[in-house]
């Protein structure tokens, strides 16, 4: 398993979608493709935007399928961040169901 400390890369307010995409493309996706679990550590992140979470994980769900959520652990999330992750996971699964 690899752990990605998000605060070090995006600060306490996770809103920069460009950075989210970079983290997904350069760190999360390669680890998943290698068969590793990924732990996304939100320690010290007080708030994110839905757009940030979307840029971080939506394409993983679309490309790897719903089961990718078994390989990602969201650690140390604030209540607001938990809600936003759930929003994105919900509608991405809706999208996958619709696409099928």
């Amino acid at each position: 398993m690899i752990t990605i400390n998000l605060y070090e890369q995006v600060g306490s307010f996770a809103e920069n979608k460009d950075k989210a995409r970079d983290i997904r493309v350069k760190q999360i996706n390669p680890a998943l493709c290698d068969g590793k679990e990924v732990q996304l550590d939100f320690m010290n992140i007080t708030l994110a935007t839905q757009s940030f979470i979307h840029a971080l994980i939506s394409d993983l769900i679309r490309n790897h399928g719903i089961d990718v959520l078994d390989k990602i652990i969201f650690k140390n999330c604030s209540d607001a961040v938990i809600t936003l992750i759930n929003v994105v996971c919900d509608y991405m699964q809706d999208g996958i169901v619709s696409d099928e």
Binding site: E15, Q50, A80, I85, V87, D90, Y91, M92, D94, S98
Partner: protein, 325 residues
């Protein structure tokens, strides 16, 4: 082109500004103002600055009337004359900005936005629970401009804290392609109002017609933003092309957990106007409670429920859940 700064133009009476905009002749921009007193929402200043900056970029002359209302020092402090490219009409004593206003700022990139948010929050002296919705709204509104607007001037933003009413007012203006042109890439919208309606719904983005959006866009930002305003019993205003939508306030507060959110923005109490002055681009004005606002996490949860209800297919589907540690 003519732009008039009236005696009063806040979101409740923004018509006093919009109705005086004229874009017939683009040889010159004439800016005039009420000779005695001008008190306006930040969206009026952002719109004025955006239009002026575009004119300067195109070498269109700007003529400013001779009126010197008592409130002129406020325009100077907000940085308006820098955007107008004019010498400020009077010397002013500089006051500490902290806690009162965020001067006009042009933002053209993602990194500039992150920097702006980092600088902005300490100026507002808001507690974390009150700063969260402000940060959220500013990020989503400006990212919309950066990603979708193709604005000639980027995003122009300013904000003002109103102590008496305990609210923060924010205005974001761009001179871009407008919502209709953006949304029509993937959806059908008969006019500007239809496009605004789509843009404010959950899960609608101009980048794709697919549920869930693209890797980069989900079409949720404006849905979240207008409901943040609704939760704090404040106005939300959006003008693009020749139409505008204004979400109205409720007189009596809604108890926590009883906020009813609609996917169709026109189901909320609102004013919708067609055939108004044709603004090339988009104007967004929003008021947010600066003190004692609704719990933001709970609000996000309510927005999540509304979003999910609207976007989900009616199929009964057992979803896999993310794992939290």
């Amino acid at each position: 082109m003519q732009l008039y700064l009236p005696n009063s133009a806040f979101l409740g009476n923004i018509e006093s500004f919009i109705s005086k905009l004229e874009f017939g002749n683009d040889d010159q921009l004439t800016i005039s103002m009420n000779p005695k007193w001008v008190s306006v929402h930040p969206i009026v200043l952002s719109a004025t600055a955006a239009l002026a900056l575009e004119c300067r970029n195109k070498n269109i002359p700007i003529h400013i009337g001779n009126a010197t209302p008592t409130s002129l020092p406020y325009f100077v402090r907000m940085g308006l004359y820098e955007f107008l490219g004019q010498t400020q009409p009077l010397e002013i004593q500089t006051h500490e900005e902290s806690g009162r206003f965020i001067p006009l700022r042009q933002i053209t990139s993602s990194d500039q936005l992150s920097e702006f948010i980092r600088d902005m929050i300490p100026l507002l002296h808001a507690s974390p629970e009150n700063a969260d919705p402000i940060k959220y709204v500013v990020s989503e509104l400006i990212r919309n401009v950066i990603e979708h607007a193709h604005s000639t001037v980027g995003a122009i933003i300013c904000a003002q804290y109103f102590k008496k009413t305990k609210r923060i007012s924010i205005g974001v203006a761009d001179r871009g392609i407008g919502i209709a042109n953006s949304i029509r890439v993937s959806h059908t919208a008969s006019d500007d109002i239809a496009a605004i309606n789509l843009a404010l719904r959950p899960g609608i983005t101009g980048t794709t017609a697919r549920i869930g959006g693209t890797e980069y866009n989900a079409g949720a930002g404006l849905f979240f933003t207008r409901n943040i305003a609704k939760a704090s019993q404040n106005f939300f205003f959006i003008h693009s092309g020749s139409g505008y939508f204004k979400q109205l306030t409720k007189i009596s507060p809604v108890p926590a957990g009883q906020l009813e959110l609609f996917s169709d923005p026109f189901s909320d109490p609102c004013t919708v106007r067609k055939n108004v002055a044709n603004w090339n681009g988009t104007l967004v004005g929003i008021d947010i409670a600066a003190e004692g606002g609704a719990d933001f996490t709970q609000l996000l949860d309510e927005i999540r429920t509304a979003y999910s209800t609207d976007v989900k297919s009616r199929k009964k589907q057992k979803y896999k859940k993310p794992r939290f540690a």
